[in-house]
């Protein structure tokens, strides 16, 4: 029963995440950007744009210029999240890749770092009047959700250990459409439930900053309007309508 519920939950959540995000990306990709609006100074070549985006994704360059505190907490959280996600791959692949195996030792610290970063961000959201002013309940709850996911994970790691072998069998079973029983530990059920929730709200929330960054014209456009004429379809039709 429990296994069935969680199996269906994860199939559903994965479908929402993949199709939802795919739909958003399709929307962003097909909406025209009629004018050249990169924030300058901007790269004058495509390669330069790739580098600019890479710096934004890896280093949070603009955020670094803006505010060192948000940058420290935000970068810590995201970097740790990445390590944690890679670490979790061991539950889904067999045999485990070397990178994933190698990352295991720092993975332990990553869990704490992630929660620390999130707590720092939340503290600012509550304590800094400017940021409190711009926060809606959902902004607090998103942080709470991620902290709860991180904390429940750490609880399993250090206090109430769960049956990892059985868990891995469950996820591999999901991937192979050959369901295996899920260990019925309360903390694990909470952890997995929250992760599924996160996957479901991803395409409908501010987590759209992930695809958004890559489609932001102020960041992804090449600065070459004099060299090349840039014309959106609807603008071309506007011209023809007159012609």
């Amino acid at each position: 029963m429990l296994t069935t519920i969680y199996a269906l939950l994860f199939y559903g959540a994965a479908a929402v995440l993949v199709f939802g995000l795919g739909f958003r990306i399709w929307q962003y990709a097909t909406t025209p950007a009629p004018l050249k609006i990169p924030t300058t100074p901007a790269p004058v070549t495509k390669g330069g744009v790739v580098l600019r985006l890479l710096r934004e994704v890896v280093l949070f360059e603009s955020l670094f210029k803006a505010n060192k505190w948000i940058w420290v907490f935000g970068w810590l959280f995201h970097a740790a999240l990445l390590v944690v996600l890679v670490r979790h791959l061991r539950y889904f692949i067999e045999p485990v890749w070397t990178v994933v195996a190698l990352i295991q030792p720092i993975g332990v610290y990553a869990g704490f770092a992630m929660v620390a970063g999130l707590v720092g961000l939340w503290a600012r959201r509550i304590l800094v009047p400017r940021i409190r002013y711009i926060s809606a309940p959902s902004d607090h709850l998103m942080l709470l959700l991620l902290i709860a996911i991180g904390a429940s994970g750490l609880v399993m790691k250090y206090f109430v250990r769960t049956d990892i072998v059985a868990l891995k069998a469950f996820f591999l079973g999901l991937l192979r459409f050959d369901w295996q029983p899920l260990p019925a530990d309360p903390v694990l059920l909470v952890h997995l439930g929250l992760v599924a929730l996160l996957m479901i709200i991803f395409p409908f929330s501010k987590l759209l900053h992930v695809p958004g960054l890559f489609f932001s014209p102020s960041r992804n456009q090449v600065d070459n309007p004099r060299e090349r004429r840039h014309l959106a379809d609807w603008a071309a039709r506007l011209e023809q309508g007159e012609g």
Binding site: T40, P41, A66, R124, I134, P217
Partner: protein
């Protein structure tokens, strides 16, 4: 000239002795202090002449909500910006209007949220069913009032966009909001009247051809008196090589005129054949400020037509900030392709690029000591700094004007690094806000720039600030006295060029520095 000097009256032209204040100082939040700052609304006739409803339409709510969806489908930037903001707060202390007023709705993200909350209410799942959760709100009269007030407290300067991790550009949101308000019949007087004048007469001032011709003749006489040379300011000269498109303020206001005289001297020294057009006697394009692609295009097409009719080979733009953005970034899109122009030169070219090139080639000679009474700094105008380029390298828009200034004067000092170049502060009057009924906002918005200027004035004895934007010049001439500077401490870059340039055969001793003349 004397009249303005008298205007200045007893007001001190020196700095007060108090320690300088941090331009980046973050104020306490003061909710609502600026909610009554609103520019006049456009009269029905001006609305209608641009194709907008004369007054607020009965179904304005539905129309406005529908427009949000339409714009979202037309502009990728608008769509992504509405979705991507994580409310990280990085932009909250980046807007000069927030720094100057403390009104939280002048924090860029809060300004976006005025529109985003309505977007969420009608276009997102959470906003439809759980509006309280995501801060979604219905469009009400109060919300519309807020839109009108606060989207006219954004000079579309893009400073926030530099610092946002996703480049979210509040300027784009403001443009969209203004377009929506125009479409429901709540347009702004200042912008819409001006756009109307450009469509019918050809410039923001409504200056007719005979008046323009007379002005240019007067200026030619002044130049001859000063230099003993016949330096021309040609109008509508068919077959000229270069069409100069410059903000119409260059024809009548100080210190703009001195900049125009500077261009004329540069063209003269280079032996160039050039002309101004009476049909396209305006570089400014306020169509951008109201977010209207159609209006922006219509204004741009006048320039194309003037270039075709006059048979020129090159187009050069005078000193104007947003005009250079539209010219550099949009002209090719809006009115191109320009295959009838000489492809060996950038299309269009900035007057600073032109002058810089001549300096590099050793064509221009200067006597820097002519500017020795001036200790100078440079104000990067936002649209040039963050929405355009000069030369072929990124950042040329910062280096080329500075290189010109260094070539023509001995005392140049930059303001603090975090207030110039890409981090430059708006003058406080950009984006269609250069109108007197919102003077309080303009003065407060100038505060960060003025504090930075006070710093270099104190540290390096800076007396003047140069700019390459007609709006900046007008705004500074107006607000600088508030901050302890004389109104003529704002100068044109080409005014500095004009002071120092050595023209062959010119009478020496002609002293044409930054004196006012009207």
């Amino acid at each position: 000239m004397s009249e303005r000097d008298k205007d200045m009256g007893g007001e001190s032209t020196e700095l007060s002795a108090e320690d300088f204040l941090d331009p980046l100082e973050i104020p306490e939040l003061q909710p609502g202090v600026m909610e009554d700052s609103k520019p006049y609304e456009a009269a029905p006739e001006f609305q209608e002449s641009l194709g907008f409803p004369g007054e607020l339409v009965p179904d304005w709510k539905e129309r406005a909500i529908a427009m949000i969806g339409e714009l979202r489908d037309k502009y990728r930037g608008f769509r992504v910006y509405l979705d991507a903001c994580v409310k990280c707060g990085a932009c909250t202390d980046k807007c000069h209007y927030f720094l100057g007023t403390g009104d939280p709705k002048n924090m860029p993200v809060a300004r976006q949220d005025l529109l985003r909350k309505v977007y969420r209410r009608h276009y997102t799942f959470a906003g439809k069913y759980m509006p309280w959760l995501v801060g979604a709100e219905d469009l009400t009269e109060e919300v519309l009032d807020d839109w009108y007030a606060y989207f006219h407290q954004c000079s579309q300067c893009r400073r926030c966009s530099v610092f946002c991790p996703y480049g979210i550009d509040t300027a784009e949101v403001s443009m969209a909001a203004r377009e929506i308000m125009d479409e429901i019949g709540k347009g702004q007087k200042y912008c819409n009247e001006i756009i109307g004048k450009v469509h019918t007469i050809g410039n923001n001032l409504g200056l007719q051809k005979p008046a323009l011709a007379a002005t240019l003749e007067d200026l030619e006489e002044d130049l001859e008196d000063d230099t003993g040379l016949e330096i021309k300011l040609p109008l509508d000269q068919k077959g000229a090589e270069i069409l100069l498109v410059t903000p119409s303020a260059d024809f009548f206001a100080e210190p703009h005129i001195d900049g125009l005289l500077g261009y004329a001297k540069v063209f003269h020294a280079a032996g160039a054949s050039w002309t101004i057009s009476s049909y396209a006697s305006e570089a400014a394009n306020f169509g951008m400020f109201i977010g209207s692609y159609e209006n922006m295009r219509k204004v741009s097409l006048r320039i194309r037509k003037a270039a075709e009719d006059l048979g020129v080979k090159r187009i050069i733009f005078g000193e104007c900030g947003h005009a250079w953005r539209v010219a550099y970034s949009f002209l090719n899109t809006l009115a191109g392709p320009f295959d009838f122009l000489d492809q060996r030169y950038p299309i269009p070219q900035h007057i600073c690029e032109y002058t810089y090139d001549l300096i590099q080639r050793g064509v221009l000679k200067f006597d820097k000591s002519k500017n020795d009474h001036i200790r100078l700094t440079f104000h990067d105008s936002c649209n040039i700094a963050r929405a355009s380029r000069m030369g072929d390298k990124p950042g040329g828009q910062f280096e080329i004007p500075r290189a010109i200034l260094r070539a023509v004067c001995n005392h140049f000092y930059d303001m603090p690094e975090d207030t110039i170049r890409e981090s430059t502060f708006c003058c406080g009057g950009g984006g269609g806000l250069l109108t007197d009924e919102i003077m309080e906002l303009r003065k407060k918005g100038a505060q960060p720039r003025m504090r930075a200027l006070q710093e270099v004035a104190k540290e390096h004895g800076v007396t003047h600030m140069a700019a390459i934007c007609a709006i900046c010049k007008t705004q500074f001439a107006k607000v600088m006295p508030e901050y302890g500077f004389a109104m003529d401490s704002i100068v044109s870059v080409h005014q500095m060029v004009s002071n120092a340039i050595i023209l062959e055969g010119a009478r020496d001793g002609a002293d044409d520095d930054d004196e006012d003349e009207e």
